[in-house]
């Protein structure tokens, strides 16, 4: 037995791994709590993979059967309703924590040199997460998901030259049809997972390469040995956080299971009160605010341009904020607060 163990340890390099885990240190200071957000995202991602595979056992990505197969999961498959509910809620939790993770890094300026690329891969991961949410929303194929997808995939159309092309690429044709379901399904279960795991690999490598960032004014005292060993101390606390989050997720999923509307009808008028998922609400409200013509431009195009520039600014934040401790850095902090408040305000407004 001992021999087998030694063989496995040697061939897999377990000793190096555990040495790495014991050597890795987590700085202890007033902002240490934010370090838990990263791994919490991983928890929900893991749950998404497991429940997603389970749902795919029964889901049929066709115009005829998509809605009925989700209904079957909800009503006939043992515990199917709860698996779907967990998948749906875990997506919400994951994106919520992605946003908290991003904000904590923005406010503590953890993106400053040498961690620019870590931030950028992080923004790409967030976009991939949002794309997961967007593609997943269509799959139950009820009236709300059809209308939301029609709007979402029509937005690029206002971009000159390539717009119509992008819309047709997303939809698999001129209109949202059965081809759109298969397209969204394969992107949701294959293309995006491959992409997110590849980017995540780079992201995690960069986190290890540069170590944990310590905020400028966190009161961290390296000389006093203000560190927590990653293994076992940090992992233990982490497990506690995971357990609590899992409990909250399970409770929410049981109490607030998502419903399923009637199967989408391509010929029916859009239902009243369509709303995208909560994380797209601020964009939804922004689109509503823009009039049809603005300064002689198409209002939709103007809204798309504003939002694209916004995303670009977020992506390039570490390069823009290259002197974080100086006046420029403080101005950028105010801008980040303003953007955050805008997002919150528009989200709340669209819910009123």
């Amino acid at each position: 037995m001992k021999k087998i163990r030694a063989w496995i340890y040697d061939r897999l390099g377990v000793a190096e791994l555990s040495k790495f885990g014991m050597k890795k240190e987590v700085p202890l200071h007033s902002h240490t709590i934010w370090y838990y957000t990263g791994s919490s995202i991983l928890l929900f991602m893991g749950i998404q993979v497991v429940t997603g595979v389970m749902l795919a056992f029964y889901y049929n990505p066709t115009i005829k059967d998509a809605n009925a197969s989700v209904a079957r999961i909800m009503t006939e498959i043992p515990l199917g309703w709860i698996i779907r509910s967990i998948h749906s809620w875990s997506a919400t939790f994951m994106i919520a924590i992605v946003i908290i993770h991003l904000l904590s890094i923005a406010f503590t300026k953890a993106y400053r040199a040498p961690r620019e690329a870590t931030w950028m891969t992080g923004v790409l991961l967030m976009i991939a997460s949002l794309a997961f949410g967007f593609t997943g929303y269509l799959l139950p194929w009820d009236d709300l998901s059809l209308a939301a997808t029609k709007v979402g995939t029509d937005i690029p159309k206002s971009i000159p030259v390539v717009g119509a092309w992008v819309t047709s690429l997303l939809r698999g044709g001129e209109d949202v049809t059965g081809d759109t379901i298969s397209r969204f399904f394969i992107v949701h279960v294959c293309v995006l997972p491959l992409a997110i795991f590849a980017i995540l690999g780079v992201h995690l490598f960069l986190v290890q390469r540069h170590g944990m960032s310590v905020p400028l004014k966190a009161g961290h005292r390296p000389e006093k040995n203000d560190f927590l060993p990653f293994w076992p101390n940090f992992i233990l606390r982490e497990s506690g956080v995971w357990l609590v989050l899992f409990g909250v997720l399970l409770t929410t999923a049981i109490v607030l299971a998502p419903s399923l509307g009637p199967a989408a009808d391509l010929m029916a008028p859009a239902p009243a009160g369509i709303k995208p998922e909560w994380y797209f609400l601020f964009m939804f409200q922004t689109l509503k605010l823009f009039p049809s013509r603005i300064l002689g431009l198409n209002g939709e195009l103007a809204a798309v341009a504003v939002m694209t520039v916004g995303f670009l600014l977020v992506f390039l934040l570490p390069l823009l904020d290259n002197r974080p401790a100086e006046r420029k850095g403080r101005t950028i902090t105010y801008a980040v607060y303003a953007a955050f408040l805008y997002t919150i305000a528009l989200t709340v407004w669209s819910l009123l």
């Binding site: 709007v151 937005i155 698999g172 044709g173 391509l266």
Partner: protein, 147 residues
Amino acid sequence: MKLKYSLFSRREFLNGLLGGSLLAFFATLIGPVVQFIFPPYKEPDEVKLPAADYGGLQPHEAKGFAWGAKPGILKKAGDGSLVAFVAVCSHLDCNVAYLPNDRKFYCACHQGWYDENGKNIAGPPPSPLRRLAVSVEGDSLVIKKQG
């Protein structure tokens, strides 16, 4: 013969040649892949509807039909003539509804309004609803692209 000066070393030249050919090879694969991703689409040239199904329409009433994968609406105008629209909002492509009591078209996605002639009158829609031509041929109503 050995040149005295050269822009490239022999290694750089060969690397460029090899790398360039590889790049060119992969570039030729992009075209077919892109072609495959976009399915052929053709809007119907015309749609034939049995006139009997739409005979009972009163002035200002409307009934739907399928214009390819898009919904269409056939409406009897106040003067008794028939008009047809592609019932898709010009803003962000949602399907619109005809509200006979208000004599207006309404898009629920972003509260867009059109009057009974399909003209955009309120909300975000930037242009009118697309109109289709209606004609009667024997027992059928023929809906065609306009113009």
